[in-house]
């Protein structure tokens, strides 16, 4: 039986891990390779680099960073942010990423998911969906949550999978950074709609929130960022709560 996964997300820009401070600026919080190794040692099941580089020059440093990290990291590494073409995906995989998440580019051109899955396999294609509650449904947004689309998140998730995505990274824009817990209704709706793993994202404020994403949301994996980087909790502490909740998780020997 598959274990539930705890995925740690690091925002990177220009080859460094950064953190937004009240939307006013970015603070350098450390060396990505060092942080990646630390989270692996603590028991993270997977790592994600979200590239928030604004320029092509900054982005070019991402591949070198992925290469340096892959050489020292022995858990899966996913890369997302700014991936637009099949060649971008190929470059990420060659650099050492195991998976690539595609967001705005998939909405603009859904065939991109199919092309990537056919060339590299569904296991490395992650459909990244940013969704915001809109009445009884959830609307898909692109471009970092700034541009609304006409897509319904559940319907779009199903289409992404039909087109070749092997996983869905589902982020609630309403909950992102709020630390009030994952959007459980959204997570459950998408988990029930697709046959591939769903990674819940956005809103983790405590270990109990992560547990709820699994138990009530039906997620296969949960993405955690800020509460770990800020030292509010640890991978080990979250996993202890999950274990107490009767969830099947990987223990670190």
């Amino acid at each position: 039986m598959l274990t539930r996964r705890l995925v740690v997300c690091l925002d990177v820009k220009g080859g460094r891990v950064v953190k937004g401070v009240q939307f006013e600026g970015l603070r350098d919080v450390g060396d990505p390779v060092e942080l990646a190794r630390r989270y692996e040692a603590e028991g993270a099941d997977e790592l994600t680099f979200l590239d928030i580089s604004a320029s092509a020059e900054e982005r070019d440093t991402l591949w070198e960073l992925v290469r340096r990290t892959a050489e020292q990291l022995f858990i899966p590494l996913a890369v997302g942010g700014g991936v637009r073409t099949v060649d971008d995906v190929g470059r990420a995989l060659r650099a050492g990423a195991d998976k690539v998440s595609i967001n705005s580019a998939a909405v603009a051109n859904p065939a991109l998911l199919t092309a990537c899955a056919e060339r590299f396999g569904a296991q490395c294609v992650v459909a990244s969906i940013d969704a915001k509650r809109d009445g009884e449904r959830w609307r898909v947004y692109t471009h970092g949550g700034r541009k609304p689309t006409d897509l319904d998140a559940v319907v779009w998730a199903r289409e992404c999978v039909a087109r070749g995505a092997g996983e869905v990274l589902l982020t609630s824009i309403d909950r992102d950074g709020a630390r009030t817990g994952y959007d459980l209704a959204l997570t459950r709706a998408v988990s029930e709609a697709v046959d591939v793993p769903v990674i819940a994202s956005g809103g983790a404020g405590s270990a109990a929130h992560v547990r709820d994403a699994f138990q009530e949301g039906g997620a296969d994996a949960a993405l955690v960022a800020g509460i770990l980087h800020d030292g509010l909790t640890t991978v080990g502490a979250i996993k202890a709560v999950l274990r107490e909740g009767g969830l099947h998780i990987r223990s670190v020997a």
Binding site: R5, G96, D195
Partner: protein, 197 residues
């Protein structure tokens, strides 16, 4: 000890090369030519890609590679690399190495690909590294005709499939040891120490 990764266009070899290189004395190299990849002390068949494309790259050296394995060349096949050790696959045209009898077929499960960490049961591949929970990313599994070569099993939904096979000095694993953290790296190290010296 020369350790050669046969690169059939699989892409990401960084973590695997580094895991192999953690063993003192291991000299890791990457070779794209299947025949030249046999000029080595240990052959590694890495694990990302599609069966059809991989066997097309393997074809010019298929007979030589099979003969080398039968003659005792230590070999570690990972994921697709394990599948190449079998006779054929539902995923694509062409013949595998046929070192193990049996075919590769799609996982009989609702959730395919299987992505994530899963347990290995009844594991007895290597003496120096016992496996517990390891990382999988696959849609197909190797149905060994002879169950005695299976040295570990994993269950995804209702499908119980070989996690590891071994015959002589050839080991195949469906999971990714290079993505299975400390336990996986230990497995790679134990393979080089026990099977390859």
């Amino acid at each position: 000890m020369r350790v050669t990764l046969f690169d059939y266009g699989a892409g990401n070899l960084h973590s695997l090369a580094k895991a192999l290189a953690t063993v003192p004395g291991a000299e890791v190299r990457v070779q794209e030519d299947p025949v030249r990849s046999l000029d080595t002390d240990v052959l590694v068949l890495p694990g990302v890609g599609a069966f059809g494309a991989a066997v097309a790259r393997l074809e010019p050296g298929r007979e030589a590679m099979r003969a080398a394995l039968e003659q005792g060349l230590p070999c570690l096949g990972i994921c697709l690399g394990m599948q190449l050790l079998f006779e054929g696959s539902d995923e694509g045209e062409g013949a595998g190495l046929g070192y193990f009898a049996g075919r590769v077929t799609r996982l009989a499960a609702k959730r395919v690909p299987e992505i994530g960490w899963n347990q290995v049961e009844d594991e007895r591949t290597l003496a120096g590294a016992r496996l517990d929970t390891v990382y999988y990313a696959h849609s197909l599994a190797c149905r060994a005709a002879d169950a005695s070569v299976v040295t570990g099993w994993t269950t995804h939904e209702a499908d119980r499939f070989p996690a590891a096979v071994r015959r002589g000095r050839v080991v195949g694993v469906q999971f990714h040891p290079e993505k299975s953290s400390t336990a996986g790296v230990r497995f790679v190290q134990a393979f080089l120490r026990e099977v390859a010296p």
